[in-house]
């Protein structure tokens, strides 16, 4: 039987769609982990990225640090956080936030930094203060890149939130880990398919979001680059 036959067979069994181990419950948990990690990561990385991009100060240090962070082994970080926190149920937040910060911060920084200098000059010439330049010129112009960073981070976190199951939590990782432990490959395949589908949905949501909030004048440019 192929991978998809396995997954299909499992996913089309009605009993697998209800209860605390059913797909809706696991989906809710998975989305919960992803959303919370992203909100925290964005709260740190967006302001930091805008500030560094605007001032140009500390950019080398911060961008280097963000890139080094990407090399941290997520599972190792999870177990470390779990042990150091004395087995806290929120230990999964730390590796996922660490994972999500670099793509958001680096693209935000690059987006803001890349805003045309003439544009900023013009804005200042019109009498805008520095905060006004940031909020009315730099952020809107950088928006396509910022959204790209958020999208990349979200997809990475959707895929990686499966590790929460390693510390006894739920989400789609539960199917993958339990399936591997019991040689139940249909369960593993179903878990993997669920994660992929969720990642695709995220991709569509962000594409739609970009249509809605990126200023019309910037959209054409985005598509070309």
């Amino acid at each position: 039987m192929s991978f998809f036959d396995f997954a299909w067979q499992w996913l089309t069994t009605a009993g697998h769609w209800s209860g605390s181990n059913g797909v809706p419950a696991r989906l809710l948990e998975h989305v919960e982990y992803t959303a919370l990690a992203l909100v925290i990561a964005a709260a740190i990385a967006l302001p930091a990225g805008v500030l560094i991009g605007h001032t140009g100060r500390g950019s080398l240090a911060v961008v280097s640090l963000a890139n080094i962070w990407r090399a941290l082994p997520t599972l190792g970080l999870l177990v470390l956080a779990f042990i150091l926190s004395g087995g806290a149920a929120w230990a999964w937040v730390i590796p996922l936030v660490v994972l999500a910060i670099p793509p958001i911060m680096v693209t935000t920084y690059e987006g803001v930094r890349g805003v045309d200098a003439d544009l900023k000059d013009a804005a200042a010439g019109m009498g805008m203060t520095s905060p006004q330049v940031i909020s009315k010129v730099e952020i809107p112009v950088a928006l396509p890149l910022i959204l790209l960073g958020l999208r990349t981070a979200t997809i990475q976190v959707v895929a990686t939130a499966t590790i929460a199951a390693y510390i006894s939590l739920g989400g789609f990782g539960r199917y993958i880990l339990d399936g591997l432990a019991t040689n139940n490959y249909a369960l593993v395949a179903a878990g993997a398919v669920c994660v992929v589908v969720l990642a695709l949905v995220v991709q569509f949501v962000f594409t739609g979001l970009a249509r809605l909030i990126v200023p019309a004048g910037l959209r054409q440019r985005t598509r070309q680059s």
């Binding site: 177990v79 087995g87 199951a165 390693y166 510390i167 339990d178 432990a181 019991t182």
Partner: protein, 308 residues
């Protein structure tokens, strides 16, 4: 984005290929294998599996045999049972410290339901190939167990798994994911002791997640291997299993019969009579927690037991 994806796919492919190449190296058993030299009379090859406890046991065998004037070649850290079992079967390794239950169900008879030490050893003696033999088992076991904290055991006067009967319905049990369905874990505890826990939480294989959850009370009982060093350092108590829910996992020397004589068998049997679970646990603790060397720990045990 597409370029990045292509590169990543390529990288994963390369990594997988490298992994395959490496594992192919690990499992090649051809003539180029350094293990295929075999043993001559008066000298033996002591091998071990690829985890610390087995390597330590092999070092104990090796040191004691050497102290009795036998030439020993050490072939430690060979791999998993799937890798070293064929080696000892053809005599490339003479002696390997084994666990009787795991040996029986992994390499000799996967369908066996033998549970007690006597049953497991009986099944092994009946089914091992003619070139192989297990010697006398030691009382030391590295088996699955139901383990609780000392405080919890004292509070509820727990000595055996059977003592959990009145309180199981209020308890959360932690173990590796497969524990929930494996015949000797949650279903076995229900069948043999009538235990129905309030909740099962999937943790890991006797690792940091299980230990932390047990320590901070997220689970009140957990499936831990009986020689996990933290049982000693964190003051856990492994409950007795009078109905043999978990199959015996006694440490026992597995030998290639044509390669050993009565003197060697005598030396190995003397070690087995002194080897107990607490002694093994203490040695694992020295290895894993205090980072002592294999040869130090082995020499210490042999000196303490007056074997060397």
């Amino acid at each position: 984005m597409h370029r990045v994806t292509v590169h990543r796919t390529l990288a994963i492919g390369l990594a997988a290929a490298a992994g395959l190449a490496l594992s192919a190296c690990g499992s090649s058993g051809g003539n180029s294998n350094p293990l295929s030299g075999g043993a001559t009379k008066g000298s033996v090859v002591v091998g071990s599996a690829n985890f610390p406890e087995d390597e330590l046991l092999a070092e104990i065998y090796a040191q004691d045999l050497q102290a009795h004037g036998i030439k020993v070649t050490r072939k430690f850290n060979i791999g998993a049972r799937e890798v070293y079992y064929p080696q000892i079967k053809k005599g490339a390794v003479t002696i390997i410290p084994e666990y009787n239950g795991a040996l029986l169900t992994t390499s000799v008879d996967p369908t066996s339901t033998a549970a007690t030490t006597a049953q497991v050893d009986g099944a092994l003696r009946a089914k091992l190939p003619s070139t192989l033999e297990i010697l006398a088992p030691s009382s030391a076991q590295d088996a699955d167990s139901v383990t609780v904290t000392q405080a919890f055991a004292a509070k509820h006067h727990l000595k055996s798994i059977a003592d959990l009967k009145p309180i199981a319905h209020t308890m959360t049990f932690g173990g590796p994911p497969e524990c929930n369905t494996r015949a000797d874990c949650i279903p076995g505890l229900k069948k043999h002791y009538g235990l129905v826990f309030k909740k099962f939480i999937p943790t890991d294989e006797s690792g940091p997640v299980t230990i932390t959850d047990l320590k901070n009370g997220k689970v009140q009982a957990a499936d831990l291997f009986t020689t996990t060093p933290q049982i000693a350092t964190d003051h856990f108590v492994s409950l007795a299993d009078p109905k043999f829910n978990f199959a015996a996992q006694n440490v026992v020397p597995l030998v290639y019969k044509p390669g050993v004589d009565a003197k060697i068998v005598g030396i190995l049997n003397a070690i087995s009579t002194k080897l107990t679970t607490p002694a093994l646990l203490a040695m694992d603790k020295a290895l894993v927690v205090s980072h002592a060397s294999y040869s130090q720990v082995a020499a210490g045990f042999l000196a303490q037991e007056g074997l060397k």
